[in-house]
Every structure is written in C-alpha cells, then in structure tokens.
C-alpha cells in the first residue's frame, strides 16, 4: 500500500528521489516473561528530503518505539519482527554494527525528551559536543571544540564560552535542550529524530525551541521525524502527520488537510477531547473518549479502537485486521477505518447535555498583600543568606462556586501559594481569609478539623499521592472519619460508595489497591478523597497534566461537574493556558512570584494584555488551522527567583521593556475595567492599542496553508 503513497515532491522534476526514510510494514515486539508484546504493527512511513513528519498519539501508542527502531536501539528485549526500515535505500536492521555506528550521530541524529538526563553529568558540555566531531569527522580536538562553539552560537545559546565549560546541571533546561540539538546538528545529519523535545520545558522556552526546529528544517534541508503527544506542536512544526493508536498508524496525511477533515474516529475523539480555543465549558464542552487503551497483549479482534468507537458495528469492525484505506478525494491520505465511506465526518461529535453556568456567590477567599519569602542558607563562601521571594504581594479574591485559575511557568510561585493556602507553609506577610477565618500564618497542625476539611487539595501526580499499601476505600473512609463527616461504620461505607459513584468509578474499586488502577482512575480517587469532607474550596495543582489527553478531558469534566453541583470554589493551578481558558471564570497570571495580570477569562484572552500574558498566549501551540497566531518569542531564560531583577520582574525578557524605567522601578497597576488589573509600566494607550494574539484565519489563506 505504500506504493499508493507515491506523490509528487516540490523538487521531483528530475528523476525519482529516494526517500530519506521509509518504514515498510514495520512490526516491533518486546519479549518479556509474559511472552511477546507487540508494540508496533504494520507501520508504514515515507519521509522525503526536507520534510517534517509528525507522529502523534497517547502514551503506549508505539510512537517512541518507532523512533527507537529507526535508531536501532530497542534494548535487549525489543526486536523488529517484520518489515524493514530503509534509510537512504539501505535497510538499517541488516546493517553491520560498525556501519550503523557511522550513521548514528552523523547521518541520523536524535533529540530526547529529558535533556538533563540525556547529557553525561560528569563531562563538560564542550567535551560532549566535540566528541561527535572527533569520532565522525576525525577533526583535531581544537578544531572540534571551535566547531562545537560555533554550533552553540547558531542554536542561539547565550554566552557559548561559559556553556562550553559548564557541566549539564549548571545550565537551564532550555539551554540543555539547545545543547542536545546542537549535538545532533554538528555532523549535519540528513535525518533528525525528535522525541517529545519540548515536553519537559516551559511553554515560553518551548516556543523558542520550536522556532529553532523550524529554522533547522528550512536552513539545512534536514528531514525531521517529530514525535509528540501535542497536536498543536505537530501543526506548528510538521508537513505530514501520522496519528497512532495502540501500536498502529490509524490516519496519515498532510497536517493541514488532515486537521481540517479528519477521517478516523480516534483522531476525531482526540480533537474533541482537547481544549481548542473554540471549546467552551458551557456551550461546547470537551468530549472524552470513553473506555481505556487496550493492553498490548489484550487487543481486540479487528479494529483496535472498536470497543471505544461510537461508529462501531459488530460484524464489520471486528471481523479481521483492518488495512490502511485510501481517503476518497484526498490523494495522499490513508485511514485505518473500515467504515470510512459510511461515516458522516462533518457531523460534530454528540455534545453531552448542556449545563447552565452556576452564578457565583459571596466572596469565600480573600487574599491580601500575601508574601512568602524563603531565606536561603548562605554557603560556606557565599557569606550572608539570600531571600527568595516566592510570593510577593498577592491580592485577589474568589467567590463561592467560582473557578479561579493561576497560570505561570515553573518558578512563578503558583505551587508555593498552594502550600501557604493549605497550611503546609505559613505566610511571611499579608493575610488569607477563608470565610471569616484567618489562615495566612496558621500552619496546618494548628488548623481545626473543620478548616482543614473546608480546604482540600487535588494533587498533580496521582501515582505518588495514594498510599500504595492501603485499599482505595480505606483511604477515602479515613478522610470521612477524620473530618467527622460520619462516625457510624455502615454510614462511612455508604458515603465511600456515594463518593465512588460521584467520581464515576465502580463501587467494587473500594477494595482495590492503587496499583490496580490506571492514572485517570487514580486521579478520580484523588478527587473523591478531596471531596470526602464536603470542602468549600478545592485547590487543584496541575490535576491533569500527568494524564493522557483523552483522560484529561474526562477528569476535567468530572471535576467541573462535581464543583458545579456542590458550589465549591475551585483554585485551578496550571501551566496550560488552553485548559485554563476552557474552564476558568477568572485567571491570575503569575511571573516570578507576582501576579502580573488578573481578570475574567475573556479579559485575559483579549487585549489589552500584559506583555508576559501576550507572550504566553503566543507560545501555546494550537491544533486548529483556522487560528492564526501573532508570533511573540521571548529570548532568554527565567531569572533565578533568588536574584530577581529590580523593578518589573519581567523586564529582562520583555520585548517592550523601557530601559531606565522597567528595570528599576516596580510597575504600577493599570485597571482597564473593574477587576482587570495589569501590572505594567507601558502607557495605558499602548496597552489598549495591542492587537489580539489569536485571530481566525481568512478562508483563502487557510487553504493556502493547508497545502504548504
């Protein structure tokens, strides 16, 4: 069927061009004690020179296995069991070890998800870079070092001399990833394999790396395999995309065309479960994909997606293996759906029953001038201790039944605020009032059970926050008893059942241990536990960021349903602006411990913006071809919180910074409408004249971009 994928290429006028990379009917399995576990089956891919091809899918879909198979690095228990991987026409699997070594790092290079772990901790950056040239290009050490330094400069690492001499842990995550990219580019490879290269990075840092990756493709003609779980990133970086599910490619085609006209139910489900700008929690809620990913050794007969598919028809979908089928009227597209010609693809997914937005009640939480400072212990030679201002003059309030989101990148102080609020830390200055109780300086040990019960938390990592040796039911029951909700054992059990019903888990799960639950199920237990004491306010610290996108949607919807029903105040902490836009009533944008901008959601997402908000909005990848974004890419890294700039904390990276003012004087508050506060030196007229970051593309330009 790959023959059918033949297509003209921009530079294909003279003779046939050999694809840089071609996977033909590739199947990879891992061999474990349980037997053969198929990781990838019947996978086809053709990558022409200069193209970027995205592989997208949720965890366990096999996308990283494809990358490792290309690199011929499947470990002791992984094996290619069928098909071939041709690089420049030569089968990589049949190559001798020495030939393979000459290709790796020189012609095929890879960039990894965790840059810190991918660099040798005991070698300087310079030595690790130079190594590539010493062994592939046989350069002398001084020349190699010089070339390495030049490459660092071209990937725009600031102060390359310092970085060359530094150890990996001495530089920031964004710089580490630039170093890894520089390492991959040193020998000018034909193929670059990027495995989630920005997943571990903050979004404004991610935006810089994404721009760099696009430049590489354009400047060096490097072909790129880009692996990501983020559809928006794929749209921004790739020409082609393959959507994978349960070890198979389910849909392939040019990115724009595919995103505009989806032809596989799984892709359709994915798009319905991510918060695109057009989604809205009231009128267009997220639609999670029902069910769970089948285990690799327990896949259904026929279509792998069948059991979760709304279009499933017994007898045809589950009768036998389903091949990649051509898409009508779209030359280069394929979909692994047997009902491709029967399904009405234009009909939007059935939305769940609409719910009215609850009117917010009285003010429940009032935070005034809250500060939290940490004293750093001075080192032996450093002399006096320094102060980290993790939170500085936070002022805001939250009403009953309202969702207030706190967004910001790592180090902005959002998690510190959650700790102060829950009493794990105490405030240095200022006050927090919950109802009429002052909490700011009261540590959790000194709070009475009623206050603790009233203010509960849902944690980021559901894998670590449940006690592995107690059953789910006993962990929920313990909270019920502790907070004195019920005393009688039979009533406690009833309440546990009711809570499990509320989070839509089977009652039998009460007897299960956390390890028998999936990530999404564990987070449901976490939510049940938080709501066990009838809280008035719940703080959710990145509650879905450790979960796959289709599960994220389900957990997010659940959390909001429960909140609506109980009129709970929700403080939602996140780095992800898309989800925040979707569910928050009001948003606080934090940077280096300060609230730079706050207001209602629609105010935050429309001008006037704080310059940092503008950059954040521009940095978020959006998986929607109709949306056009204005590019605002920040240079530099976040300053260290122990050494923030005087004046405005954002002044070191702000494209609008006014020298002599912004870096010296703390910014004043501008309040364009009541409750919408922007902390900035820019003149109100300048702020008011800002253009929107996102806008709907005109139909003509849309078509043009789709075929680019």
């Amino acid at each position: 069927m790959d023959q059918a994928l033949d297509r003209p290429h921009p530079s294909a006028e003279s003779g046939p061009i050999v694809p840089v990379l071609e996977c033909r009917n590739l199947s990879v399995s891992y061999y474990t004690r349980a037997g053969e576990v198929p990781a990838v089956t019947d996978f086809n891919l053709r990558l022409m020179p200069g193209e970027a091809h995205g592989l997208v899918g949720e965890s366990g879909c096999g996308k990283s296995t494809v990358a490792l198979a290309i690199m011929q690095y499947l470990g002791g228990n992984g094996r290619i069991v069928g098909g071939e991987i041709l690089f420049d026409g030569r089968d990589l699997a049949k190559m001798k070890a020495e030939d393979l070594r000459r290709i790796r790092g020189a012609e095929i290079a890879m960039v990894y998800q965790e840059p810190m772990a991918s660099l040798n901790p005991s070698m300087t950056v310079g030595a690790q870079l130079a190594e590539v040239l010493l062994y592939h290009d046989r350069l002398s050490r001084p020349t190699a070092l010089e070339r390495a330094r030049a490459m660092l400069e071209s990937v725009r690492v600031p102060d390359p001399d310092r970085i060359m001499a530094a150890y990996p842990h001495q530089i920031s995550g964004g710089q580490q990833q630039r170093v890894v990219i520089a390492m991959a580019l040193l020998s000018n490879p034909k193929l670059l394999v990027l495995d989630e290269p920005t997943t571990a990075l903050d979004v404004t840092i991610e935006a810089g790396i994404v721009e760099l990756i696009r430049e590489i493709g354009a400047a060096h003609g490097t072909s790129i395999i880009y692996i990501s779980h983020n559809l928006g990133l794929i749209l921004e970086t790739c020409d082609w995309v393959t959507v994978m599910y349960a070890g198979e490619a389910v849909e392939v085609g040019p990115v724009g065309e595919l995103f505009d006209a989806i032809r596989h139910p799984y892709t359709r489900g994915l798009f319905a479960s991510i918060p695109l700008p057009s989604a809205d929690k009231i009128s267009r809620p997220l639609v999670p994909i029902p069910g769970q990913l089948p285990l690799p050794y327990d896949r259904p007969r026929g279509c792998n997606f069948g059991p979760r598919c709304e279009f499933f028809i017994a007898g045809s979908c589950d009768s036998g293996p389903i091949p990649m089928l051509p898409v009508w009227n779209a030359e280069h597209r394929r979909s692994r759906c047997i009902r491709i010609d029967e399904i009405d693809w234009e009909r939007p997914p059935a939305p769940p029953a609409l719910q009215a937005a609850p009117p917010p009640g009285d003010i429940l939480l009032k935070v005034e001038d809250l500060s939290k400072h940490y004293e750093l212990e001075g080192g032996f030679l450093a002399g006096g201790g320094r102060t980290v201002k993790a939170n500085e003059s936070l002022t805001f309030d939250a009403r009953e039944a309202e969702t207030v989101a706190i967004v910001g990148e790592s180090g902005c102080g959002k998690s510190t605020f959650a700790k102060v609020l829950t009493g794990l830390e105490t405030a240095t200055d200022g006050s927090i009032r919950l109802g009429d109780v002052e909490l700011g300086a009261v540590p959790i040990e000194k709070r009475d059970a009623r206050t603790v019960a009233a203010l509960q938390m849902v944690f980021q990592n559901p894998f670590d926050t449940l006690n592995p040796s107690h059953s789910v039911g006993s962990q929920i029951a313990r909270v019920i008893r502790k907070f004195g909700v019920e005393r009688d054992e039979a009533k406690v059990r009833q309440r546990v059942d009711a809570l499990l019903d509320m989070v839509k888990l089977p009652r039998a799960f009460a007897r299960r241990k956390p390890r028998q639950l999936s990530g999404g199920q564990k987070q449901r237990v976490g939510i049940a536990r938080a709501f066990a004491g009838n809280p008035r306010m719940v703080i959710a610290d990145e509650p879905v960021s450790a979960l796959d996108v289709s599960v994220q949607a389900a957990v997010t919807e659940l959390l909001m349903d429960i909140q609506r029903e109980h009129r709970t105040t929700l403080i939602f902490i996140s780095h992800d602006l898309s989800i925040v836009r979707y569910l928050a009533d009001r948003i606080l944008v934090m940077y280096l411990g300060r609230i730079m901008e706050q207001g209602r959601t629609e105010e935050i997402f429309a001008p006037p913006y704080h310059p940092y908000t503008e950059a954040l909005l521009s940095a978020v990848p959006v998986a929607d071809t109709r949306i056009e974004k204005r590019k605002v890419v920040l240079s530099g890294d976040l300053p260290s919180p122990s050494d923030p700039p005087a004046g405005c904390p954002f002044s070191t990276r702000c494209p609008y910074a006014i020298p002599g003012t912004c870096d010296v004087v703390p910014p004043p508050v501008f309040e364009p409408s009541p409750g919408h506060r922007i902390l900035c030196h820019l003149a109100p007229e300048t702020l008011m004249a800002m253009k929107p970051v996102m806008s709907e593309r005109e139909p003509e330009t849309r078509a043009a971009s789709g075929s680019s």
Binding site: P121, E131, Y135
Partner: protein, 313 residues
C-alpha cells in the same frame, strides 16, 4: 569542604573521648581489678593474697589512683606520645600497637592489590551485559564467595595449600611475603564478591541511563562509550565503598588473624580484651575510631571530587 573536614575531626574527638571514658569506667570497678589480678597472678595466688599485699599490687599497677586522676594522667600521657604500659606483655603500648598496625597494613595492602582489580574487572564485565551468561556466572560466584564465612574459607585454603600441597605456611608467624598469602587470599575471596556485586549494580544502572543511550546514538565507538561515559560515572559508588573496606580490614578480620596466628591489629585487640589489658584496649580502640572516621572522610571527599554535580551544586 574545609567545613566538612573540621566538623568530622571535631566529631572524631568527641567519639574518642566518649569511648575512652566508657572503657575506663568499666575497667575501674573493683571486681574487674580483681579479675585482672587473677589473670596476671593466677587464681590461687590471688585467693591467698592478704588485703595489704593486694593493695600493694594495685599500687604497683597504678590502679588505686582515683578514677578522674588516672584518666587525666592517661590523657596527658597520650599528648606526649605515651600510651601507657601493657599489663599482659610488660611493654609500652605505643610500639606494640605500631607493630600490629604495620602488620595489618601489610595484609590490607595485599588484599587491596588483589581484590580491587579483580572486583572491578569482574563487576564491570557483569554489569555491562546485564542478564548475559557472563553476568550470571560472575554474579553467582560473587554471591557464593561472599556467603561462605571467612573461617570456612580459611580452613579450606589451609587444607589445600598448606597441608596438602605445602606451598604456603599454615601459621603466619613471620615476616616473609609467603606468610601473607593465605590470610590475604581468604579475605579477598570473602570481600571481592561484595565489591564486585556493587560495581555490577552501579555499571548496570549507568548502562540503562539516558546519557549512555545518547553516547551510543551519537555513534561513538563502544570502547569510548564504556570508558568515558559508563565507567567514569559507574565507578563513583564502588570507590567510596572500597575506601570503607579499610575500616573493615582493620577490626573485622579478627577471625582470620587469630586462625592464622597473624600478629595483626585484630589479634592484638582480642588478646588485650580477653586479658583486660586496659591501656592496649584503649589505644587500639582510639586507633580504630581514627581509621573509621578518616576512611569515611576520604570516601566523602572522594565522592564530592568525582561527582561534579556535588562539587559545584
């Protein structure tokens, strides 16, 4: 770094004072003094001794001086390099201890010279191919040797090499290298398994690390990957443990020294303890504390120097 060293030395002083006070206290009881007299003069002689004669004996031994004064005298003596006299051997403790330490030092050197290369090479060979036949055989032998008690190995080696083949002497009462062979071999067999298994685990862990994957996928030759990327990081843990073995050889090898009649530190300490030879026990204990704290310190400093993340972090 300097802070660390100073703090450790201060800790060491405290431990030494505490330990010596406790020992002195135990040895100061009248019952114990009487036992000492029995050990020296024989049970019958002590029974027939008149109280006055017993007092005279105490005076001769300097045992009737009040506790605080005696302890102070001993402490100031150490400052002058005088560790007191052995009751049992009628000799100054200083030279006695010095000789014992020298003998044990020789033994330790022999053990290290054989054990370190053996353990590192086998450990690396096993760890680099985790799960292979090579790994399984090395791991099996390492576990086997570590789980056999030293005394069993000692008997086994003596029977084969001393009694049957007659290559080496069974009793190590002499100065030649041949006297060191059997005790050293016994210790090597016991200890190498431990260090080898530790090395194996460390190497295997680094082999799984993402930066080794980076190094391989960079297209570096395998030798370069192993030497520059794997070993440099994997040998940090074995290094610190090897330094700590010094402490074990000093006081943990009593069984082997006694078995081979080797006049080392362990034997000296055991003899003195059985006899109640206070000043020898005191001096030997202080030496043991000193070696323990110093080896710990060297191990910590080495760890910091080998690991850039800690050096600068």
């Amino acid at each position: 770094m300097l802070k660390l060293i100073l703090r450790r030395l201060a800790q060491m002083m405290l431990i030494m004072v505490a330990v010596s006070l406790i020992l002195f206290g135990v040895f100061d009881s009248p019952k114990f003094k009487r036992q000492l007299a029995v050990n020296e003069l024989g049970g019958f002689a002590v029974q027939t001794l008149s109280p006055a004669d017993y007092q005279a004996w105490l005076e001769r031994k300097g045992l009737n001086v009040p506790f605080a004064e005696r302890y102070w005298k001993w402490l100031t003596g150490i400052a002058r390099g005088d560790f007191g006299r052995s009751f049992q051997k009628s000799a100054d403790v200083g030279p006695l201890l010095g000789r014992a330490l020298l003998n044990t030092g020789k033994l330790a050197l022999c053990v290290f010279v054989i054990m370190i290369p053996l353990a590192l090479v086998t450990g690396v060979m096993a760890g680099i191919r985790e799960g292979s036949f090579q790994d399984r055989s090395i791991s099996f032998l390492a576990v086997l040797f570590t789980s056999i008690p030293e005394i069993a190995t000692a008997i086994f080696l003596t029977v084969i090499f001393a009694l049957w083949l007659g290559w080496f002497p069974a009793k190590s009462r002499g100065d030649g290298l041949e006297f060191l062979v059997l005790p050293a071999l016994t210790l090597v067999l016991y200890d190498f398994g431990y260090v080898a298994r530790l090395t194996r685990a460390s190497v295997a862990e680094v082999m799984q690390s993402q930066y080794v994957r980076t190094a391989i996928l960079k297209g570096l030759p395998y030798r370069r990957v192993v030497i520059r990327h794997v070993l440099r990081n994997a040998l940090i843990a074995p290094f610190t443990v090897i330094v700590l073995q010094l402490n074990w050889i000093l006081s943990g090898v009593v069984v082997v020294e006694v078995f081979f009649q080797y006049n080392g530190f362990g034997k000296l300490l055991l003899d003195a303890a059985l006899f109640g030879d206070l000043y020898v026990v005191q001096a030997a204990t202080l030496a043991a504390v000193l070696v323990a704290v110093l080896s710990q310190l060297i191990s910590d400093i080495g760890y910091v120097l080998l690991n850039p993340r800690i050096r600068f972090g």
